[in-house]
């Protein structure tokens, strides 16, 4: 009887069982999520009410009073809030002149489709605005439509925002309990399948490929759910063009824009901290597979079992790439699902936006991994390569946070342009941005391959 098992690239992990991949992906996911969500988890025990002040300065329109325009000018300031329970948004407006200002406040909760409205007239140069109480955790968009008289010589004004709330303890409610039980059941099923002697062949593959993402997804969902009362976070953007329609209908009609806003402001991918840690994990995967003492001791085994240097090169790199990139979209989807239930019925465009973010990460992973691979093969010592890469990443982490964010944003925009989505980059620039990254990664891979095929197994 010939062995029925077919070796595939995932089998580089020395097991043809998807369980191994699941375990590694789960581990990576756990680390990535832990880092991504750590800002929210600074204090999970009930504590005193805290204020999270943010002050934003906006430059308003300069209006020529001689023309005596009769149309009201308005600025729309959109505030995104990632809020736990019992959080409220307090705000005040500071003006340079003593005029009467009309502020319309409208909010929308993506979690409950609840609409919040308030109107306030600010007399003089400073005025407190109505407090918006956030009824339950979730992602809210609050818009301030600040209208001012046309005669004003307006240059600058300040919108001061405070999120007031308290951390709460982790509460596992019915929903999370069901999810937890589901996860345990799935893990049990996975284990049974893994240990079943008849797991071989296509069945194992189909189950592996379909169940693994579900489990990873559920784990990330549970994770986000379990940290329920999040630390309040806030992000603001200014919409310069006033819409004639009401604020609510404006917001609801431009949901895609708001999701973009959400993705760029609140998703883990938008944090440089997340990107750096993920970058370290990505490089670490390469070091583990190619340069760690573990790998060098296993190399004889690898060569004897695989007996193909080309395939081994391909498998190792594919596994490193997949292990470090696949958990990301699942955690991102879990994040979105928790905070924006509407995502389930998301439009194709939104999915593509997410996909473009994944592609941008994949491109960064290609570059990081190819360079890490080249370094480890040139140095022939995993520990030395790890040290150098670690120092580089710490320097980037400390001093070049902006660079990381800018690169990620430019890549994300480039992929959006390629996918035909709205992008700030013109198509030609997008192609150039991608070409730079991909060509560099390809060059590093080719050089690494040339070194690898000449490498001796000692």
């Amino acid at each position: 009887m010939r062995s029925r098992k077919r070796a595939t690239f995932i089998s580089y992990l020395y097991s043809e069982e998807w369980g191994t991949l699941l375990a590694v992906m789960g581990l990576v996911l756990g680390i990535v999520l832990g880092i991504a969500f750590s800002p929210y988890m600074s204090n999970l025990t009930p504590s005193k009410v805290e204020k999270y002040p943010e002050s934003f300065m906006f430059t308003g329109l300069v209006v020529n009073d001689r023309e005596r325009m009769r149309v009201l000018h308005s600025d729309i300031i959109v505030v995104g809030i990632l809020a736990p329970r019992n959080t409220s948004l307090e705000s005040s407006l500071e003006l340079p002149f003593r005029y009467n200002w009309l502020v319309n406040i409208a909010g929308y909760s993506f979690a409950t489709s609840e609409v919040i409205r308030a109107t306030s007239l600010v007399a003089g140069s400073r005025g407190e605005l109505p407090t918006i109480v956030v009824p339950q955790p979730g992602f809210y968009v609050i818009a301030y439509n600040i209208s001012f008289p046309t005669k004003a010589y307006l240059k600058k004004y300040f919108l001061n925002l405070w999120l007031v709330g308290k951390h709460g303890k982790v509460i596992i409610n019915t929903r999370e309990t069901v999810i937890l039980v589901s996860i345990i059941l799935l893990i049990v099923i996975a284990y049974i399948l893994y240990t079943n002697p008849r797991r071989q062949g296509i069945l194992g593959w189909v189950l592996g490929l379909s169940v693994t993402p579900v489990i990873v997804f559920l784990i990330s969902f549970f994770y986000v759910a379990s940290v329920g009362p999040l630390q309040p976070r806030l992000s603001v953007m200014k919409v310069s063009q006033a819409h004639s329609a009401s604020l609510i209908s404006t917001m609801l009609s431009s949901r895609d824009e708001l999701v973009d806003f959400f993705l760029s402001s609140f998703s883990p991918l938008s944090y440089y901290r997340f990107l750096i840690v993920w970058g370290i994990i990505t490089a670490g995967t390469v070091l583990l597979l190619w340069g760690a003492p573990l790998e060098s001791r296993l190399e004889t085994y690898e060569r004897i079992v695989y007996a193909s240097r080309n395939k081994l090169f391909l498998y190792k790199n594919l596994v490193a790439l997949l292990v470090s990139t696949l958990p990301i979209p699942f955690s991102e989807i879990g994040f979105l699902w928790m905070l924006y239930p509407g995502f389930i019925g998301a439009s194709f465009t939104r999915v593509m936006v997410l996909f473009s973010d994944f592609l941008s990460l994949f491109t960064i992973a290609l570059l990081i991994q190819s360079l890490a691979l080249l370094l480890v093969l040139v140095l022939r010592r995993g520990s030395l390569a790890a040290m150098i890469i670690g120092v580089i990443l710490i320097v980037v982490f400390t001093y070049y946070q902006g660079v990381v964010t800018v690169h990620q944003a430019s890549l994300s925009n480039a992929w959006r342009s390629v996918l035909g989505l709205r992008s700030v980059l013109p198509p030609r620039s997008a192609a150039w941005v991608l070409a730079k990254y991909l060509a560099s990664a390809l060059a590093a891979y080719i050089l690494s391959y040339l070194i690898y095929v000449r490498r001796e197994v000692q």
């Binding site: 077919r6 070796a7 020395y14 043809e16 069982e17 085994y301 004897i304």
Partner: protein, 287 residues
């Protein structure tokens, strides 16, 4: 050296400041080819050169008609190999590792299972490797080597860490394979199987100290002793014909290096006597 499967001509191998092999010229064909020598003498390096895992610094190496370091993939697909220091993926079970190997090589599972059962690997191969003793790991590696034999078998220190029963089994497989294909065996331990070697190479400090083949000389004999008194009496009668004598008490064995091997007929108190390579005596005395 035509027809030889493994050939090394004036081979040097240097690792930075360390010279592992210097001016080594050997050739091995079908049968059991034993390489002996103290630690660091270059045995493992020579085997790795033949498998293409290392590239010679100088000289020519040929394995199965190929330049090994240029055709490693092809060689490894056709040679069963068990190399010292090979680490196993400890997070998997033994059976997973073997299945993986079988899948890659397209090997008959029934045959693998048969060898595994004989080696006693099936008793524990469902457990994760991390819980194996060193001997159990060694048996797993040997199983892979024996299963993977197609055109040759290369074994580096196969006897270390094994119990005597398993050593006998390994000897059995070595004897079996050496009838069909070239077997390269680097070892410190002289077993019954090793005594059947067709060639013996003794390496010291990277040099070939001796390279002996059965065709060249066969004057040494290994005798299984039935009665030592009787043997000693007969030995005194032919004392002038005996060059060397060594004795292994544990197995009632005696090795004699005779001027004329016909004298074995005159020895009393022995059950059987067989020719062995004389270099082995030297090595046994050394070890």
């Amino acid at each position: 050296m035509p027809g030889e499967a493994f050939i090394a001509r004036k081979v040097w191998k240097q690792f930075r400041a360390t010279i592992a092999l210097s001016d080594v010229s050997v050739a091995y064909g079908k049968g059991l080819n034993v390489i002996m020598g103290p630690n660091g003498s270059g045995k493992s390096t020579l085997l790795r050169l033949f498998l293409g895992l290392l590239k010679p610094s100088k000289g020519v190496v040929e394995s199965l008609g190929l330049t090994p370091w240029k055709a490693t993939d092809k060689l490894l697909k056709n040679i069963g190999a068990c190399l010292e220091g090979t680490s196993l993926p400890w997070w998997l079970s033994g059976i997973d590792v073997i299945r993986m190997f079988a899948s890659r090589r397209g090997l008959e599972w029934a045959r693998i299972k048969e060898i595994a059962e004989e080696l006693g690997v099936t008793a524990y191969w469902h457990r994760p490797i991390i819980g194996y003793s060193m001997g159990m790991r060694k048996k797993l590696l040997l199983l892979m080597a024996f299963s993977g034999v197609n055109e040759a078998l290369v074994l580096d220190e196969p006897y270390t860490l094994l119990d005597s029963k398993t050593i006998e089994l390994v000897d059995k497989y070595i004897a079996l394979f050496s009838k069909e294909v070239p077997v390269l065996l680097a070892t410190h331990i002289v077993t019954e199987g090793v005594l059947n070697a067709d060639t013996l190479t003794i390496l010291t400090g990277g040099h070939v100290k001796a390279h002996i083949s059965k065709e060249e000389t066969g004057r040494a004999v290994l005798c299984k002793v039935r009665d030592f008194k009787e043997l000693l009496n007969s030995l005194t009668q032919v004392a002038n014909k005996v060059e060397q004598l060594s004795y292994r008490s544990n197995k009632n064995r005696i090795i004699l290096s005779l001027v004329d091997e016909k004298f074995t007929n005159k020895l009393q108190g022995v059950e059987t006597c067989k020719n062995i390579l004389p270099g082995l005596i030297e090595y046994m005395e050394y070890s």
